[in-house]
């Protein structure tokens, strides 16, 4: 019965033969667990498509109503919170997996002849994944999302000549408003995914056409004249059918990814909705989601005169390097002969990791939540010192300076400031300011200044 139907279907469509051809195409025998990340990225993407469609049936992509619709999805809709969690951790998984996949391909030299287009289509998919991650984060239309759009527009605005136009294009107007969100929604759910589908189709077609790259062998450099014949010969000699000899690892790992995402969606849940997307609520603390936190740190730590370079030129250079990788498409693939390939990956991971940690701590942000210094920290009970400690908090010194572990990290820790500055030097610094410190000449009376200095003079 079933086989009869399949025979009919194949006769009329050829699809069964085609599917069998795809599933049983020979792959190198020695591929192992390093080869699972591409398929896992694809599985994560499909998870995003399915959960995204479900969420889109309830989400209202209007600047005025999106926030309430998200609250409905999170708090009332059946399984809504779980679906949002799946979509969030699915996105996280996709960003992480596509990164590992690119690194694996690069380190193993799998982008070399004849697979240059595999690399280029993959590079575009990497960039589109980041575009999906960014636009998706904005659709969580809360206060942070609104300020993220403005920060994105401000970065676009740094572009010479066309900056102002680009910024308007990002906001879809002069300011954030009714036109802003629906455009990001359309890009996130239609335009970018359509491109991703097309490019995944091309990417998989190329994988089938050229075959899965064999694990690199030291002393077997890629030579355009001989590679294809050697690869075909290797497949004839020791090739195994993709299904199930190689595919089982993809299935096991992919199922593991989906399970982990589901587990996190249940246990951790989706990111909480922040305050409403009201641009007049100025008590804001905008932070990007974890996958862009490192970039947020770079923007904070870049010296001002290099900033436009970093915002405009660095992404262009990164994009150009990404696209130029397959220019070096012959020679040794083994990382033992390309140690710099491993170093490049290590360097990128270290840089992103370091900035990520910095972004998590954000020592450059003033600590608006700093509480008045505790009596135990102030120690001294004389009226002038206690008054100085109070003013240290009230006048905002504590936003940027910590004493005894309380206060911001923006400026130097003043716990032991009296050991390195005399009271006279303190007066000068507070009155006139210093590098990266405002002067307080107009906002402190002489008595207030004296009290603060009296307090600081006890810090030794």
């Amino acid at each position: 019965m079933i086989s009869g139907f399949l025979a009919w279907l194949d006769d009329r469509s050829g699809l069964v033969t085609w599917a069998r051809h795809v599933l049983e195409h020979p792959v190198p025998k020695r591929i192992g667990w390093w080869y699972v990340f591409g398929s896992a990225t694809f599985i994560a993407f499909m998870l995003q498509v399915v959960t995204g469609i479900a969420l889109a049936t309830a989400y209202v992509p209007s600047s005025g109503d999106a926030y309430e619709s998200l609250r409905f999805i999170s708090e009332q809709a059946l399984m809504g919170r779980f679906l949002r969690g799946l979509h969030y951790f699915g996105a996280s998984a996709m960003v992480l997996l596509v990164g590992i996949h690119v690194a694996r391909v690069y380190v193993m030299g799998a982008y070399k002849f004849p697979r240059e287009l595999n690399w280029l289509s993959g590079a575009l998919l990497l960039l589109l994944t980041l575009a999906l991650a960014f636009t998706g984060q904005l659709l969580r239309w809360d206060q942070t999302a609104v300020w993220s759009v403005i920060v994105a527009a401000a970065q676009a605005g740094r572009m010479p000549v066309i900056g102002q136009g680009l910024a308007h294009f990002v906001l879809a107007g002069d300011t954030v408003g009714g036109t802003t969100l629906s455009r990001f929604f359309a890009f996130h759910v239609f335009f970018i995914p359509a491109l991703v589908f097309l490019l995944i189709g091309l990417h998989l077609w190329l994988v089938l056409k050229h075959g899965i790259s064999e694990p690199p062998q030291l002393g077997e450099p890629v030579d355009k004249a001989t590679y294809r014949a050697r690869y075909a010969e290797m497949l004839r000699r020791e090739g195994v059918p993709f299904w199930p000899d190689a595919a089982w690892r993809d299935v096991v790992f992919g199922a593991g990814v989906v399970s982990l995402v589901a587990l996190l969606a249940v246990i951790v849940g989706p990111p909480a909705l922040g305050k409403p997307p009201d641009p007049t609520i100025l008590q804001a603390y905008p932070r990007p989601d974890w996958y862009f936190l490192w970039y947020f740190a770079i923007l904070a730590l870049t010296p001002s005169h290099l900033e436009t370079m970093v915002i405009i030129v660095a992404p262009l250079v990164f994009g150009a390097i990404l696209l130029l990788v397959p220019v070096f498409n012959t020679g040794e693939r083994s990382v033992k002969r390309r140690p710099w390939a491993a170093m490049v990956v290590l360097l990128i991971v270290t840089v992103i990791g370091t900035f990520w940690v910095a972004g998590e701590r954000a020592p450059w942000s003033p600590d608006f939540e700093a509480q008045p210094l505790a009596a135990g920290t102030v120690r001294d009970t004389s009226a002038a010192v206690v008054n100085g400690a109070r003013l240290f908090h009230e006048k905002g010194c504590e936003f940027c300076h910590a004493i005894g572990g309380q206060g911001g990290q923006r400026g130097p820790d003043l716990t032991l400031v009296a050991t390195r500055m005399s009271p006279l030097e303190m007066v000068g610094r507070i009155t006139n300011g210093g590098p990266n410190m405002p002067g307080y000449v107009s906002s402190l009376t002489q008595e207030e200044l004296n009290a603060i200095v009296a307090f600081l003079a006890t810090r030794k």
Partner: protein, 180 residues
């Protein structure tokens, strides 16, 4: 291969009659007219779509004076946040139709309205009255009371809105977020 291509698509098909010159000319003509027609059809659809997407670049939103409060409700020397509607909010804009500004009453009759957007990357700066500073929560930009940069990464002073007093009411002129 099990996927045989239809024979007549292959130009070198030996089964087909040899092409004579008029046939080739006709085929060339048909190819060109097909490509031209397809391009035309794509343009008919593509031009309005691209124009529609780029419309924020050509649209010049109107600007409007918005009342933010009566003169009397502001104390001389105080800096407070005020909010007002954008010039032409859309019916579905909701709260995003609002914009905030930091308004200071300089003396009996004059006001200064600062943009809330940090000139570094647009985050909302907060006014702190005791130290007389605007502070940005994102990357630690600090501005003096007059909006000049005191510390941190901002490249320029805080932007300002045109502000005026009309029949006892303070009015602010809606303006684009000052980028670049």
């Amino acid at each position: 291969m099990d996927r045989a291509a239809p024979a007549e698509d292959t130009p070198t098909n030996p089964d087909r009659a040899p092409d004579d010159a008029p046939t080739l000319a006709r085929r060339r003509f048909l190819s060109r007219i097909s490509i031209a027609l397809s391009t035309l059809a794509a343009a008919v659809v593509g031009v309005p779509v691209i124009g529609f997407l780029l419309s924020p670049l050509t649209r010049k939103p109107p600007r409007a004076w918005r009342i933010v409060g009566a003169v009397d409700q502001f104390k001389v020397g105080d800096t407070v946040s005020v909010s007002f509607d954008d010039a032409s909010p859309l019916p579905w804009s909701g709260v995003t139709a609002r914009t905030a500004a930091w308004l200071r009453r300089d003396d009996e009759s004059s006001f200064t309205a600062f943009s809330v957007n940090c000139t570094h990357l647009g985050c909302p700066v907060r006014w702190f009255a005791a130290p007389k500073l605007f502070l940005c929560p994102c990357h630690g930009g600090v501005y003096n009371a007059d909006g000049s940069v005191a510390a941190g990464p901002p490249p320029k002073p805080l932007g300002r809105y045109p502000v005026r007093v009309r029949s006892g009411q303070v009015e602010i002129l809606t303006s684009p977020i000052p980028f670049a």
